[in-house]
Amino acid sequence: MLEERDDTLLARWLSGELTPEEKVDFEKSEGFKDYLGIIKGMDRFIKPSFDKEALRTKLFLDLDTPKKGKIRSLKPWYYVAAASVIVLFALGLFFNEVSYITAVGEQQTVALPDGSTVRINADSHLKRARFFWSNNKKLTLVKGEGFFEVEKGDGFEVQTELGNVQVLGTKFNVKNRQDYFEVACYQGRVQFEKAESKTKTILIQGQKVIKLEGDFNQETITNPEPTWLVGESIFTNTPLHLVLRELEIQYGIIFELNGVNTKDKFTGGFIHSNLETALTTVLAPMGIQYTLSTDNKMVSLTTE
């Protein structure tokens, strides 16, 4: 066969490049009719449909959206490294402080790394640095009340928004409530530095500084240690609303005042262990009736 001797003969026949002699010979050959039939049949096939604009739209959408492919091609240990950094950063951020928080009606005793202890009264928040605290013994009393028994050593300090208390081996109480602030020294000496004026006051055993309305006043302590430590709250000539506030904190209750005058001064105390007794001891001398809700959460006040 001709096509076995010439390996491009059929191709050249298809493209019309055969010489006249080759053409004559090929058309006489055995397979010619078959090839012609195949080629005629092939002419009936048409190109598969092509939606050019759809592909263009898809393409340009792809080109205009930021590529993710390059990110995917990163080696896995880059992810590990990046994740570790993030985790370490998060740990540093969230755990470099220790917070001691008490809810209403709750008290807590905390032992500090230097051997000092703090008794924290209800509804309070005290925090300190987690690491290397012994090198810089600063505590922040964000709110509430704490009784500090400090071991001998340098630089113990309690910070509040109204001022800082610096001590050297002593026992003292700091109270930082809404509308009421108090620093009381029960043993040794403390120095109180007011936040605004930077003036310093030294308190010796049995002295306290309070801030009720307006300015700070210095007063004398009558009890050997804060009464709240033994489950009582004692007040001397204190506006009733502060006493009610303390009741709310110790018992987790809410007062409905109903127009009752809470500016009257109260002297006395209440215990932390029995709500009804506590309410009666505070309210009866002031001439106030109260109604306690069934769930012991709301106290409604009325005067006669």
Binding site: G37, I38, R44, K47, K52, L55
Partner: protein, 170 residues
């Protein structure tokens, strides 16, 4: 010499390239892999790669780049899948006039041809269909494949010989 050469990075020129080559490139890959969807994906990938490398590829070399990328991508895909692709059917024109001279019974013969196309080796099928269906010249096909024109002609001949053998059942 023109100082301001055409840049592939120019959207307008890129679009011209797309108009000129998208369909043939799609068919080029389709005749090889037999999967229209895959062929379109390969085409799109090739154009994306061209766009991402538009600063490095000269406008005149863009065509060769597109075909080379699509081919390489296809070989990588196939090596990855190791799947023999089933060649799907080509559409046909419907012609009523039949030449009795060759005694080919219309649809039955076309079915035989389709079968024969499916049985061709990938390379031969690609060349044969580009020439017979897409009406591309040997020179054009040679430049797409990056081989000589003679190589394409030899492949054409082999394809046609094989077609005859299959159709005539020799």
């Amino acid at each position: 010499m023109e100082k301001n050469r055409k840049s592939v990075c120019d959207r307008q020129h890129f679009n011209t390239l797309f108009d000129a080559h998208a369909e043939t490139l799609r068919n080029f890959m389709y005749y090889r892999c037999g999967d229209l969807h895959q062929a379109e994906d390969l085409t799109q990938d090739a154009f994306i790669k061209l766009w991402n490398n538009c600063k490095k590829v000269l406008y005149e070399k863009a065509k060769g780049f597109l075909y080379a990328v699509a081919k390489n991508k296809f070989f990588n895909d196939v090596a990855h899948k190791k799947v023999v692709l089933e060649y799907s059917k080509l559409p046909q024109q419907h012609v009523d006039v039949e030449s009795p001279e060759y005694q080919m019974e219309g649809n039955e013969f076309m079915e035989q041809l389709q079968q024969a196309i499916n049985q061709l080796p990938e390379g031969q099928r690609q060349v044969f269909l580009l020439n017979r269906v897409d009406k591309k010249t040997y020179t054009e096909i040679a430049s797409m494949l990056g081989v000589s024109q003679t190589a394409v002609e030899k492949k054409m001949q082999k394809a046609l010989l094989k077609m005859r053998k299959i159709v005539k059942n020799i």
